[in-house]
Symmetry: C2
Subunit: 498 residues, 2 copies
């Protein structure tokens, strides 16, 4: 829902505003760093949630922090909203532009500024790719642990904005646990440093606060990430189960044993079949597959593999395979890592859900998802970070079939509400963006939403950073309540749709 | 510095106000839960920073959340400031009362509300003691990991407010990493739930934000803590070194090896001597002692002990002793754990500093502390959480000697500024309180302090929660700049001094 202060502009009014904005931004950015032609804007009209597209009024592409300050200062003076974008891989529409806003693309700020080996920190600009960090420090036997599936492409600035996780976040934590310091620029053009090298800082924990704030509080302009030594040894155990409940029991057993796996994943039969036909990985054709990775010293891994194998067998695994070398370990993971593109081949479109539930309800929620899938008439395959209960139901649909996108979204909403109903949350790691903004009305009460808005206002009093994303207004929630009753008509009338 | 809106009241005005406050609070609290007589107020006039004492106007002792809501609502209507207190063990004066304020004592909210074994959570009221949690869940093979030295007495609510650490926080994290959910009551009387069972929550990370907020943002009324399985096995290696630099090198070597100790501590000769004369622990008389604890499965510990012993010897340890059983492990730790009371026997008074530095500067900062000790003419002994660089220099003095308290404080301030100068921070775990509020002016710039104040205002617009603590006003910083030049006269004229 568009905040009242940003009324829709007529085409001629928009053109005039664009001209004025371009003129002012053109004074603080080099020509190549400012885009205003329709063809130039199109690549930025959506992020990874490609069902929603909206070209911005202009795209600004700074390569230095002082340019970011200048752009934000001008936009604030002109009351122009700003949407920040990293690599555009986000899955919840957090970087979806506004028709009358500036899209602030940080991907040209892609320098590694320094590596501090003694302190195991790397200082980088926000456009540096997640995997690039590990590649750069690999010669020193170090790496950056958080590994979202998009890590080949996603930006570290975006990772901070979304507090990204990944397969290994079970053992190594989320982005916030792997970042020491962040420099931000506020809408007032002020540069602030949050955090520091120490384990904890005095004052308020602004470093944690900025993580997961989805572009609403400030623009991230520099990050000091914590590096870890590459584990000496890693092995994965892949176990087949005849039913999902048994696989869920195995996951619970592993966690209860006190072993902390580097990764603990599950895939259902639909996903296994998709992967087997996409890659030469040959997963067993079973109801559910569990992948459990252990890393550490050789002795640690050796003893943990024994313990985990015992637990898997005791829980009813019909077969357990353990990687014998690094090549085999990567091969066994390759299927899981290719789950999304594999599913993408099965169906013209898919809608990737992202919810988190208490682990103990895994089997029950999967049953409910199956039931909902039948009721709404669309297939759902499941892959998830079983270790922390973060689920990714993938809803298969065909956008060319009339009404199927809407059905997919309603099914998705119902799945998320089922997650919340068992005490879970509407997002594990993909953020709220525009995608789940209505479900925020279900998960939070009025008191909490007011608090969120007051804190946002302390950072961005004019509400110019990424308006309409992540945290719904109370008015929206009231309307969502009404809409929900009437069958959940799509809530984004002001955005152009593909 | 007293905020302008809280002018000092004359004794008769104070008495009248007390009467009015008592009358209104008396309608929402049982008689035994409201204290107003001078003798009743005295036990609450200071916390662990006993050099500063100030009886409050009244003490309110709720045992239920709705009573907390009622008290805060009344105080807000009357514009009466409120200072929250747990067990009063804090070391930075965070619970030091205000003469015209209400001291809100949470220690009667001391119920364990429930233990969720499947999910490994314990839900408790804020007055429950830290160690009490572990005692209660021990029969289930579980424990609560953060172990501040005061854990026998300190409250979990206070732990959240200070984001307390402890010897084992190196491996198990700070309080914020071990808490799933917190219920708070704001000054507006609103009850909010922060966090949840999932690894991450959508919206802003208010759970992290409340941790370490030192009573400035809200009153903590319920906490769901995460429980861990008690490690199967734990061993400690105690190594003696002929000089501090070698001990520092050993610490760096252990951390660099990738081993993550459960605890990694260091004590200097002054501390060793104090402990040896206080307890029957017989530490080697050396320049520096390193204690390194490993925990986990038997195989993990066995292999880590070998690795750590090798590193200690390679770094120049003159002797390494490894505990052979649980009794010996506890005995070897008993000296370190009794360091503060042992030092307390050496000197009429001591002032415990708390600063954090990047580990690599350990030897250098210790040298500087020695030099400062000589310059100011007061002895300093050192004990620290070497693993994360959190130092506790203990300044020995005699408050009965004219000017020695002031000298101790100036020496303390100089030590903290030395920590900041090498890129460290002014508090590791004891909080800012009143004690380090001036050093906040050194560590943070105007932009950051403004941001802190704006965020505080989003929670507590009238500035009634713990005013004058933790985050200095810009006016105070300006004055501190001037005071600092003139030799650092004590900045708390409005508070009664012992």
């Amino acid at each position: 829902m568009r905040p009242a202060k940003f009324p829709r502009l007529s085409p001629s009014a928009l053109a005039a505003r664009r001209k004025e904005v371009a003129s002012r931004l053109g004074k603080v950015l080099p020509p190549a760093a400012l885009l205003t032609e329709p063809d130039e804007l199109r690549p930025f009209e959506c992020d990874g949630l490609s069902a929603y597209r909206q070209p911005p009024m202009a795209v600004a592409m700074p390569d230095r922090t002082d340019q970011v300050q200048a752009v934000l200062t001008i936009c604030r003076e002109m009351a122009v909203p700003v949407v920040a974008r990293g690599a555009g891989t986000g899955l919840s529409g957090g970087a979806l532009p506004l028709a009358d806003g500036v899209l602030l693309n940080l991907s040209r700020m892609n320098q590694v500024l320094g590596i501090d080996l003694a302190n195991r920190l790397a200082r980088v600009q926000p456009g540096v790719r997640n995997l690039q960090i590990s590649e750069i420090v690999a010669p020193h036997g170090l790496y950056y642990a958080p590994d979202p599936s998009s890590q080949i492409a996603c930006s570290i600035g975006g990772n901070v904005a979304e507090n990204a996780g990944g397969v290994h976040c079970l053992k190594y934590g989320l982005t916030v646990h792997n970042v020491a310091e962040v420099e931000i620029v506020t809408m007032e053009g002020q540069r602030l440093t949050l955090g520091g090298e120490a384990l904890d800082s005095p004052g308020y924990d602004l470093l944690a606060f900025i993580h997961g704030s989805e572009g609403l509080l400030a623009v991230i302009t520099e990050i000091a990430v914590r590096l870890l030594p590459v584990p000496r040894c890693a092995q994965v155990a892949v176990a087949a189960f005849g039913d999902v409940a048994a696989a869920g029991g195995a996951v619970a057993g592993i966690v209860a044993s006190g072993v902390l796996p580097a990764g603990l994943e599950m895939m259902d039969r639909g996903c296994i079949d998709a992967v087997n036909s996409f890659l030469d990985v040959d997963y067993p054709e079973c109801a559910a597959l569990v992948l459990c990775e252990l890393d550490g010293t050789q002795q640690e891994v050796a003893s943990q593999i024994i313990a985990v194998t015992r637990i898997l067998e005791h829980a009813g695994a019909t077969g357990v395979r353990v990687s014998r070398n690094e090549a085999e370990r990567l091969k066994l993971w390759s299927g899981r890592k290719a789950a999304f593109p594999a599913v993408g081949r099965m169906s013209p479109d898919y809608y990737c859900m992202d919810g988190t539930i208490p682990r103990r309800h895994l089997a029950r929620v999967l049953k409910e998802i199956q039931a909902l899938s039948g009721r709404f008439g669309l297939p759902v395959v499941n892959v998830f970070h079983a270790g922390d209960g973060n689920m990714h139901p993938l809803i298969l649909y065909d956008a060319n079939r009339e009404g199927e996108l809407e059905t997919a979204e309603r099914l998705g909403g119902a799945i998320l509400e089922a997650c919340v109903a068992v005490g879970g949350t509407i997002t594990g790691e993909h953020g709220v963006g525009i995608e789940k903004i209505d479900q925020m009305c279900v998960q939070f009460g009025e008191g909490e939403l007011r608090q969120f808005h007051d804190l946002k206002a302390a950072f961005d009093p004019d509400g110019l950073l990424n308006p309409g994303k992540a945290v719904p207004t109370l008015a929206r929630c009231a309307e969502f309540g009404a809409m929900h009753v009437h069958g959940g008509k799509l809530p984004f009338p002001e955005l152009e749709r593909f």
